[in-house]
């Protein structure tokens, strides 16, 4: 087999990204492209499912099979893709509003099922595309146009949620820590099962609180915590809770994860998409005979 060389150029499109200058999403895009290149996955074997939001535009700038879906529905679309063709590398990507508000139930159910999907959430703790309302990850008291007196609710804790829901790969990155983010995304893609990479991706236009400097000041980098064990779910929960979720790195990975599509009866090794569809008449006749 000829070795393939995949370059960053292969993953670029002629489209210029529409994000605001300085947006954290540039870093996420770059990290994802770099991860795919380093794993030598060819663009035509990658499917990116993007949600709605500034973050959801990520698929517009990656030369791969992209599907830009309805708000909040990346998880089930990605599941359909993976069930249809398990040879594909399936990446889902979207914002904190997309994934943790409108898409919350799909997110939880995706983790219960554990399909082999990498899910990158670009968490800016605000709604960007709709111009600055409160998001499920906004802190209590956070003032936005939709909560002028401050957010009354507690924020969703995506990492604790993922740990509790049984996610088999839980990581958190920061868009300006490229080296770590690339490594986390690579690990997620290689992980056999559902992988969450919640990524802090600052919104420079609307979120004046959770800025790059703020994240730099508050984030604890697991790469610098010497005895952290990413295979202990309970310890991970405690550690993350103690640091209010502000931890980056590989938080948890289940070593023996079997993806949903491998457990489904009927689905063989060959992707569904490669199957011959001519009906097996004998088998069908046997089924019909039961109605006689």
């Amino acid at each position: 087999m000829a070795t393939v060389t995949v370059t960053l150029q292969d993953y670029k499109t002629s489209e210029k990204a529409w994000w605001c200058p300085g947006c954290g999403d540039f870093g996420v895009l770059a990290a994802l492209q770099k991860a795919l290149v380093e794993l030598e996955i060819e663009p035509h074997n990658v499917a990116v499912v993007a949600g709605i939001g500034c973050s959801g535009k990520i698929g517009n700038y990656i030369n791969a099979y992209n599907i830009h879906v309805t708000h909040g529905r990346t998880m089930p679309v990605a599941l359909g893709l993976k069930l249809a063709n398990r040879d594909l590398t399936v990446i889902a990507a979207g914002g904190d509003g997309d994934g943790y508000a409108i898409g919350m139930s799909h997110f939880l159910h995706a983790m219960r099922r554990n399909p082999d999907i990498t899910y990158i959430v670009m968490d800016n703790r605000i709604y960007g595309l709709t111009k600055g309302q409160t998001s499920p990850t906004s802190q209590t008291g956070f003032e936005t146009k939709s909560t002028p007196d401050g957010n009354l609710e507690r924020p969703v804790q995506p990492i604790q949620l993922a740990l509790a829901a049984g996610a088999t790969y839980v990581a958190q990155g920061f868009s300006s820590n490229q080296k770590q983010l690339v490594r986390l995304i690579k690990g997620a893609i290689q992980h056999k099962g559902f992988a969450l990479v919640n990524t802090f991706s600052p919104c420079v236009t609307f979120n004046k609180v959770n800025t790059y400097d703020w994240f730099k000041e508050h984030l604890v980098d697991l790469d610098e915590v010497p005895d952290y064990d990413p295979h202990d779910r309970v310890a991970a929960m405690r550690f993350v809770a103690e640091h209010d979720g502000l931890v980056t790195g590989l938080i948890y990975q289940e070593p023996e994860s079997i993806p949903f599509e491998e457990k489904l009866p009927g689905l063989g090794r060959r992707p569904l998409a490669a199957q011959d569809l001519r009906p097996d008449k004998e088998k069908l006749q046997q089924i019909l005979a039961q109605f006689r």
Binding site: D10, T13, S14, E15, E42, P43, H44, N45, V46, A47, V49, G59, N60, N63, A64, Y65, N66, I67, H68, V69, T70, R73, M75, P76, V77, A78, L79, G80, L81, K82, L83, A84, N85, D87, L88, S105, H106, H109, L264, P265, G266, L267, G268, R270, L272, A273, Q275, L277, R278, P279, D280, K281, K283, L284, Q285, I287, L288, F291, R292
Partner: protein, 583 residues
Amino acid sequence: MREIVWKIGGEQGQGLDSTSDVFATVCSRLGYHVYAYKTFASRIKGGHTNFTVRVSTRRVLAPARHVHVLVVLDQEAVDRTIGDLVPGGLVLTDSSFTPDVPPGTNVISVPMIQIARELGNPVYRNMVAIGASAALLGIPLDGFRAYVADKFGRKGAEVVQGNIEALQRGFDIAREQAGDRVFALDRGDGKPRLLMTGNDATAIGAIAGGCRLVAAYPITPASEILEVAAKYLPKFGGAAVQMEDELSAVAVTIGAGFAGVRAMTSTSGPGISLMQENLGLASMTEIPMVVVDTQRGGPSTGMPTKHEQSDLMALIHGGHGEGPRIVLAPGTAEQIFYDTAMAFNLAENYHCPVIIASDLGLALWQQTVEDIDLDRIEIDRGPLADPAELEKLGREAFQRYAQTETGVSPRSLPGMKNGQYLATGAEHNVFGKVSEDPKNRKQMMDRRLRKIRKLELGGKPVPGLEVSGDDRPDVLLISFGSTIGACWEAADDLREQGLKVKVAQVRVLNPLPVAELQALVDEAGAAFTVENNATAQLAFLLRGNGLNGKPLRSVLKYDGTLMMADEIVAQVREALTVEGVRA
């Protein structure tokens, strides 16, 4: 007699459903046309339930008003069903129960429980009831004996013998008691048929049509489609997945369709409402997928266990914006089998959602189906990009949404080199790149809508109408969905009353075959749509699509029960009398 109707009523859990199933299955095996249905509700006081089986020498696809033999196991069953008995009809009971019936009612009392006890198993009671029913309806026992041998053979000779004995004793006692009051059903044509529900036919038809993934969320009356698919799809290398809701169910089919797998979801009204946004996505991204809507009483939770045909507007126009959707409307289990298989060809040829409008009556009730001809099923995957051509094209050169004459542009599938593109719900240009340029917008809208103006498969038109009956009719009945059974029957009855009648079954609701319908309406004395809804949605659609000329009348029913032939006859006759349009 050309036809008999048998009904069994009692408490839930008394094995009524299996008794009814055996009776219906054997009659079907004997070469009769059978239509079997049940009265059920979300709540039934005292757990009453009843099953009706219509057995006929001609095609029957609708409920009947009158019952010839009524098997009642308790007083509640009598109270609820005695009014259905024809004059001269027979009430069959167990000897341990003396029903309170109107004077003059013929009661045949058979010691069913006692016989079963003597034979050593209480479940034989149902076989005694079936044997006795056969005697009262003039159906020989041979077919029942053969069925028993077939069905219980595995359980050993003793069980077979016990069942046969039960049948025989019930038969003999009932026969003797009834004397010359028994009915005599004419012989059937002996042609074996299948006995299926529409939901069975939908799931198996989908598999035959190449569907390999069903994703759905349970809902009455669609759940069996998911269940039957889950049972059989793995044998074909496919899968059925129960999703967390309808939004995800339809989204899974979109993901799979994008990847090149034939996928389907099934639901009912509330689910269709939830799917609307993603149906728009499939229209906009031009991803093939199939949705089955088994309509039930709405709006909202409405009457979840009752029949209605009131989702037409939602199926054709529901959701925001304007995008292509094909809507098929099969009316029988046989039609829904072939239509579901064909739906995948349409979806992949026209790159849009194909919706199958089923309804509770079609979905749940058993009917005889002529032998399925699997050779009729073809797999036609529609315009696909050629991987070799794509390779030559180079990167970012593939026009997924190219302007073509038909409006359909070949699609690439993930895994094809250089076929990468963006499938987005946002307006986009020929490459799939987001574009809000007014000129592009108009061209893209026109192209997408142009696709489904006329439906063809393999160069042959897909018929939007199925027409039967007399030329230059006095009465034209226009119908869709399971109401067609009652229409065909009503047409026969109106003909017997001296009228010329034509029945047009709308098989494709979108794109609607308006020109053909216009010609039929023009030629008819009076035209009626026949619909199980309150607002005459089909008539509204016809007018909205430009049908003009003489006024369209409508025979409507929206009390939750299925249309019956005599109701159509009565409403048509009344309209004709009032308007004086008599032939």
